[in-house]
């Protein structure tokens, strides 16, 4: 197990969003290695091609073209090979129903996308720090649920 850095994959079709995320990651203390994919089809291709080096944490946009975040979530959760990936869904929706639905389907984290950058940075920093604890302290990922 590599305890030196957190392997992060970001799936988002919006370029501005991707840049914001990358900027936010840079300011987090935990060392991160970030990879990017543009949509759901690319995401599944990427995961299937990196079985030896899967991400520890996946940020998944719910609204992506070609294959939605929800479809990807179902596909990932039904595949035993991907069981150790923590999944953070983010969406502009803040409805309790959507949050619960995604967590029930197996996501670990639900992020309500904030409007301003400084809030986003704070949220990402929290998500990464808590993931780091799960990564380094062998905590039970099945019980890991966070809505932020």
């Amino acid at each position: 197990m590599n305890n030196e850095s957190l392997n992060i994959l970001l799936a988002d079709d919006d370029e501005d969003d991707r840049l914001l995320f990358e900027d936010a990651f840079k300011e987090v203390k935990v060392k991160t290695i970030v990879s990017l994919v543009n949509d759901g089809i690319e995401l599944m291709k990427h995961l299937n091609a990196s079985i030896e080096n899967l991400p520890n944490l996946l940020f998944l946009d719910l609204n992506m073209p070609r294959k939605s975040g929800m479809e990807c979530l179902d596909e990932i959760k039904s595949d035993e090979r991907f069981k150790n990936i923590a999944i953070a869904i983010y969406s502009t929706s803040a409805s309790e129903k959507d949050i619960e639905e995604t967590l029930v389907r197996g996501a670990n984290i639900y992020i309500k996308k904030p409007n301003d950058f400084s809030k986003l940075k704070k949220i990402l920093s929290e998500v990464i720090t808590i993931n780091w604890q799960y990564h380094t302290s062998a905590l039970n990922r099945d019980n890991f649920l966070l809505s932020i």
Partner: protein, 184 residues
């Protein structure tokens, strides 16, 4: 058919560690939760074999002095949250300093430097983990869980849980139950 099991992580880990040592015929004593006394020094090859066996179970031999101390702090906290019937009411800082024979200031600085979180946050995280386990096991009511983990009241537990997970206790329980039903 589906079975739900409850397991004791500490016992399980101890057993696994014991079995690996027996496989390699190494004499040892368990000193604490994650500390072992090896009676004879191990050769490099044997140490490597041992490490490989343990790695199969996600267990690692910790090497640097800093990591060892961090591991000890974490083990002391886990022990505090999981093993003791009731958490010590004496202050945690005193408990850890005494247990590890180091000043709390030193422990606390080192911990934050290496883990990017504070000892206080880590304790809360571990307590919340324990709460989740107890909710998942489904044997105790929320009220009983708050007693078990020394919260001053159920509302204290509810507030801390909501702050740390963004979910209410009952939402957490509902989600876990729905996941189970979906898998049946």
């Amino acid at each position: 058919m589906k079975l739900y099991i409850k397991y004791n992580i500490n016992e399980a880990c101890k057993k696994i560690v014991e079995e690996q040592f027996e496989k390699l015929a190494i004499d040892f004593d368990m000193v604490g939760f994650a500390e072992l006394n090896i009676k004879k020094n191990l050769t490099g090859i044997k140490l490597k074999q041992l490490n490989n066996l343990l790695n199969n179970y996600g267990i690692e031999i910790v090497e640097s002095k800093k990591s060892i101390l961090i591991q000890k702090i974490k083990a002391a906290i886990t022990e505090m949250v999981y093993l003791e019937e009731k958490l010590p009411t004496s202050k945690v800082s005193y408990y850890l300093a005494k247990k590890l024979n180091q000043s709390y200031g030193y422990l606390s600085n080192l911990f934050s430097e290496v883990t990017y979180t504070t000892i206080e946050n880590y304790i809360i995280l571990q307590k919340i983990e324990r709460v989740k386990e107890l909710i998942t096991a489904g044997e105790l009511s929320f009220k009983e869980i708050s007693w078990e983990l020394n919260y001053s009241s159920l509302s204290h537990l509810s507030t801390q849980f909501k702050n740390k997970t963004g979910l209410t206790l009952s939402a957490f329980q509902r989600i876990i139950n729905k996941r189970r039903n979906n898998n049946d």
